[in-house]
Amino acid sequence: MRPVFVTMLLPLLIVACRGGSSAPADTLVVSEAASLSTPFRAILDTFARRTGAVVQVENGASLELARRITDLHRVPDVIALADEEVFPERLVPAHVRWYARFARNRMVIAWTDRSRHAEDMDSTRWREILLSGDVIVGRPDPRVAPAGYRALLMYELAEQYYGEPELAARLAARTPPGNVRGSATELAALLAAGEMDYIVEYESVARAQGFRFLSLPAAIDLGDPGRGAEYARAVVRVGRSDSASGVGTDSISERRGAPILYGVGVPNAARHPEMGRRFIALVLSEEGRRMLRAAKVDALAVPEIVGDSTSRAP
């Protein structure tokens, strides 16, 4: 009897695993930037309720999500990124033919009531407080998270705007490596836990987490789509260790200032592309934009499709 039992067990195991890996036709797999996880929740719930689809969500930093498609061939039905520039840089056209710009965001300084000098923080003293030696300032890793290099770009723009030489370098130096984190949401968790006094963060994340935050001038917050040329005057160089070559040298990528725009698309190899298109149609609809705004995301009044418009956009 025992060998028979074992013989039956193995095929059962294989069938069970096959059932788990091949998602049924009414499944929607969404890869979303960590800063979109809360704003997308209501839209995903609405979509699941209306279509009966099973929704599976993967969160991560935008560059990491792109890597999952290009390197690991883990292809979702929808990919939504905090940095629309990642689409042309890494995904279009080999992995995604088109994407939609659907929301904008701004960089802010966020803090909590527990932060040192919390009551003194305002638009005139923020630089002085961040530069003072007795506060802990965190920012995301510029090599991994768009919010990371945007924090440095915001510092550069602040230096130009306020006419304070070396301001960007001094602000950047106030964050030692130990206070640099992999994503904007990870940083927000540490601010909430009281591990940091101030963080450079997306406004949507600061609002969603209920942090106190300082809105910065439009000339430096990277939030105005009409100021693209102005933002482009700021450039930061982001280092990364180039182990792929096997020589362990550091390579530098250059990041230029641009308005913060979120992008969403359906990968070419998506298993359920129709589901993906239907979800994006909901995100771009008036109803979707209302839900995004309720979740503190500044949805664009007129979303814009970028890429091969002859393929099936929503």
Partner: protein, 268 residues
Amino acid sequence: MTRRRTHVMATVLTIGASCLLLALLLWPMVALQWRAGLTGVRLLASDAELRSALALTASTATIVTLVTVLLGTPLAWLLARNRIPAPALVNAALELPLLVPHPVVGIALLLAFGRASAAGQALASIGVALTGSRWGIAAAMLVVSAPLYVSAAREAISRVDPRQEMVARTLGDSMSRAVWRVTLPQARRGLLAAGIVMWARAVSEFGAIVILTYNPRVASVLSYDRFTTNGLDGALPVAAVLVLLALVPLALLRGLRAPSSADADANA
């Protein structure tokens, strides 16, 4: 005839199942070495960040293991000799960190010893910060791996006959001296093996560490970081090096488990 057929079938299934499991365990490691092993070894010479991460990982794991040996061996003896109140409760408490997902361990440590907690404020007053520091790495390694040491050390000590401790006491030794002179020398191979298992587990930790300390980067965090920044081709050589280095504690364990000449003589 039927019995013989059943026997043959059972043998085939046993060998087949064993080979299948071994293939599942080994093939990913072999494939990794095949693809990137050589590049990984070359990388050891050229990549200062990798060497620094490996040194940080190995040294922190070693310190944490030594601290656990000091703190955990007395506890293991108490458990082995049933000299602790509510041993079942203590054993369960020791096993809990092994059952909890490791990012949860990191979050729990953050709440218990983070800057906002009373303990964290006391630590901060003496210059110890749990996040973004080596202290965070050490705390995470300790919580996820110390239970393995205590558990294995308890087994090693319980294999030493307690009557030998009694004999030493009748000859005038105090209990602690009896344990030091009689029990620990006999349990040393088991204790050493427990320490190696704990060290290896500490070295491979990722989930709890990354919650507390992203920088400075230990080897496991570096391998994940290389994937996110440099892609699969960037991560593979680092991953291959980590697998190769895992062979070191494995070889040490094999050496310890091989019967020594003294053991052979004793058995004879």
